[in-house]
Each structure stands twice: as C-alpha cells, then as structure tokens.
C-alpha cells in the first residue's frame, strides 16, 4: 500500500510546504460557522415522558415562545439517561407531523367527504348522542330479573397512550352513565 510520503515531504519544505496549507485555516471560516451554537441555548425546557412504548424514557422539551424546537432524552432519568430510541427521537415530528389535525372533521351519515365542524357544536352533538345511546339501550334488569343498571348502547376503546388522569375520568364518567363496554389496548 502506498503512503502519502511525497505530500508529507512537500509539506515539510520551507516555502512550498507553507503553500500546501494555503486556503485552510481561519481564512476559510464563514460567518455562519463563527456564530454556531445550539439552537436550544437559553430556551425554556420542560420535562416530559416519551409517548411510545412502556419503557418510560424521560424527555426534555425545548420551546421558544410556545413553539416546539427540540425534544431529546433527559439525562437525569435513571431509566434512559438521556438516550432515546428512534421513535422517541422522532417524537418532535410526532407533534409537528404532516397531516396533524387542528380542526374537527365531521362526516355525516352517507357522506362522501369530510366537513368542518366547530368544536363547541361537536361537543354538544356528541353529548346528545351519548345520552341518546344511553337512554335507548338502558337496561334496568337483565332477563333473569337481576338489577344491572346499565347500557350497552355505546362503547369506548382507548389507547394506552392516554394519561392515567384521562383514563380515570373516562372510567368514572362512563361507568356512572352505566356503560360497561369500556376497553383499551391492554387487551389488544
């Protein structure tokens, strides 16, 4: 194998050698380079937890004026110590994903396209429908005459990426309404 001896020798020569380094060094540095720094310096940080698998990696969320700038691992977390897997590393893109919904989409029965719907209207409509489903399918007693106070008119299927607080309210509200078919990913 050949070694770059001629180059090395050239570089050791008095004048020519210096010339071999022309164009390198400080003259080449650009303004952008000289002002390089991480874009998260000085930003607000919030401690969070990765939403993907159940490992529970700590995340640091850097934001500037209410906009998401960066999500990376939390070095303090004894579980992940700053590391993240590819999904966790992509979680900024999860939040800022193409196709992220910001408006309600409504599809009327038999409809062929989505329509827009105002949030408050949608909430009212949904409440109406849950109430109707409860009323229409209310069972006071089962066929053997035992008290069951329930409705099988509507169901819930939740992902296991919901917060415990959210699951708690879901279970609490729907159970109070008499719903039984409350399920989640744990079985899927």
């Amino acid at each position: 194998m050949s070694r770059p001896k001629p180059f090395k020798r050239l570089r050791e020569l008095p004048v020519v050698g210096r010339a071999m380094d022309w164009g390198l060094g400080p003259a080449a540095a650009s303004d952008n380079t000289l002002k390089a720094g991480s874009r998260i310096a000085g930003l607000k940080v919030t401690e969070s937890v990765c939403p993907y698998c159940a490992v529970g990696c700590g995340q640091l969320v850097y934001t500037r004026d209410g906009e998401l700038v960066d999500i990376e691992g939390n070095p303090n977390s004894p579980i992940n110590q700053g590391t993240l897997c590819p999904k966790g590393s992509a979680s900024r893109q999860l939040i800022q994903q193409p196709g992220r919904l910001t408006k309600i989409r409504y599809r009327r029965p038999g409809g062929t396209e989505w329509e827009d719907l105002d949030l408050e209207t949608a909430m009212d409509m949904i409440a109406e429908r849950v109430i109707a489903a409860r009323e229409n399918h209310w069972q006071e007693h089962d066929e053997r005459g035992r008290r069951v106070n329930r409705t099988l008119g509507f169901a819930h299927l939740g992902g296991a990426t919901l917060d415990n607080e959210e699951n708690y309210l879901i279970k609490k509200l729907f159970t109070a309404m008499g719903a039984l078919q409350i399920e989640n990913q744990a079985r899927i």
């Binding site: 194998m1 050949s2 070694r3 770059p4 001629p6 180059f7 090395k8 050239l10 380094d21 164009g23 390198l24 060094g25 400080p26 003259a27 080449a28 540095a29 650009s30 303004d31 952008n32 380079t33 000289l34 390089a36 720094g37 991480s38 874009r39 998260i40 310096a41 960066d70 999500i71 990376e72 691992g73 070095p75 992940n80 700053g82 590391t83 993240l84 897997c85 590819p86 999904k87 966790g88 590393s89 992509a90 900024r92 893109q93």
Partner: protein, 283 residues
Amino acid sequence: MEIAVQRPEAQRMGFFTDTTVCIGCKACEVACKQWNDLPADDLRASLSYDATRELSASTWRHVRFVETLRIPEPEPTLNFVEAALGAQLDRWVFMSDVCKHCTHAGCLDACPTGALIRTEFETVIVQSDVCNGCGYCVPSCPFGVIDRDPYDGRAAKCTLCYDRLEDGLEPACAKACPTDSIQFGPYEELVERAKGRVATLHERGLEGAYLYGAGDEPQDQLAGGLGAFFLLTEPPERYGLPAHADSPIQQNGPIANATGVAAAFVAAGLAFGAFAAAFRKAR
C-alpha cells in the same frame, strides 16, 4: 495549521462506535435527522433491515446491517434442507456508520471554496453558506461519506454536531444511542478507552475484535487516524469500509500533478520539435 476556528481551550473530540453493543435500533439516524432538521430520503426498498442503505447528504448516521448469514445455494437436494436446518444463526452485526472526521481528510483537501473546514475540535464540517456544490469532495472521500444533495445541490455530511459542541452538548446521535454503542468525548481519552475495550474482548475470546481507525502504528494509520473510529469484529469490507485509506489528494495528488506538468512540458518540447522539423523542411 489546518484549523479554521481558533479557540484556545478546544481539543480534539471524536466518536467511538462500538459495534459489539449495537442493537441496530437506528436511534442515531433519527436523532441526527431530528437535531439537524434533515429530511427523510427518498423511499427505497430495504435490504435486510436496512432501508437507508448508505450515508447521504440527508442521512449522516447510517446503521449497516451486516449479514453473516448465507442463504444456502438453491440446490434441490436433501443437503439443502439439512443445511438450512443446521444453519448457525449466531451473527448479525450492526454498525452505525458516520463521517470519520479524518486527520487527513480527502473532502477537506479537495474543497476549492473553503466550504469544508477543520474546526477547533479537529472535526471536519461543510459550511453550508459557502458550498457551491462543485461535487469534488464526493469522489474524494475514501469512505463514501460526503454526498451532494440531488435537490439542494450542496454537499452535506455529519458535523459531529458542531453547533451542539459549541454549547457543551454531546452530538445528538451519541446522546440518543440507547446502548452507548456510540460514545463521544475527548479524542485521546476515547482512544485509550477503546483500546481497553479491545483488550477486554480479546480476553473474552473475541480475537477478531479490532479498532478501525485508531490505535494504529503510524504506517498503518487510516487517513492519519480517524476522528470517528470503530470497534469491529469482522474484516472491514463486511461493513463497506476499505482496509486502507488516505486522503486521495495527499496520496495521489503530488504524483499526478508532477507527471501531468512534466507531460505538458514534454508536449511543449514535442511541439517545438515538430515545428522545428516542419519549418526546417519548409526552409
């Protein structure tokens, strides 16, 4: 000296990528894209589990999946079934490839605009505000790292997270790596640690473990020593790495230039000879 940004307290920083603890998760690829805000590449069918296939202008970390499993020849014999039944599934090696930040950097030597510079951390970066996309760095890299973006037109590659380094942060890939296969730190310490790792693996019987790009005698160095070096367990070609490499300009430039200019003068001599002959005859 080559260093373009002078900061007195700076020292050489590097990557040590230990393939023996890599689980092939590709966190480094995504963490790099996230931090550097790089786009996904055009979709490609994957080979093995490797859909990225190679380093590119928008993929600065790339996990290679080294298949050591051979699919038996499709001979319709009983032996074929036997071979498949008995196949040893003991090796499937992953290696997170990255720019080597060479001491003798081919891309740096080649760059006509000064877009490529050596930083105070002795890493090699492309200054995106300077690069005009001449493309000469692309064939000048003996490791197939730097590439010119087919849409954007500028060359781009790993900066060892130069911006993060400036603020005392470790590079995004090294930070993300769940099993610390990618380790980052002051170069000299890193090399010492890597050597210790090789020694440990040898003690454990993994004789094939070696460092690619660090800890070599001067005559064996790869490109003068690699700022980002690797611990490998198979011959380098399995990972798409050359057994030997140097900055092509340092290796071939002086000779090629010398013979070229010499040839030009020979040509001039011949021209004068031809003219002399022709004009003598005419006279």
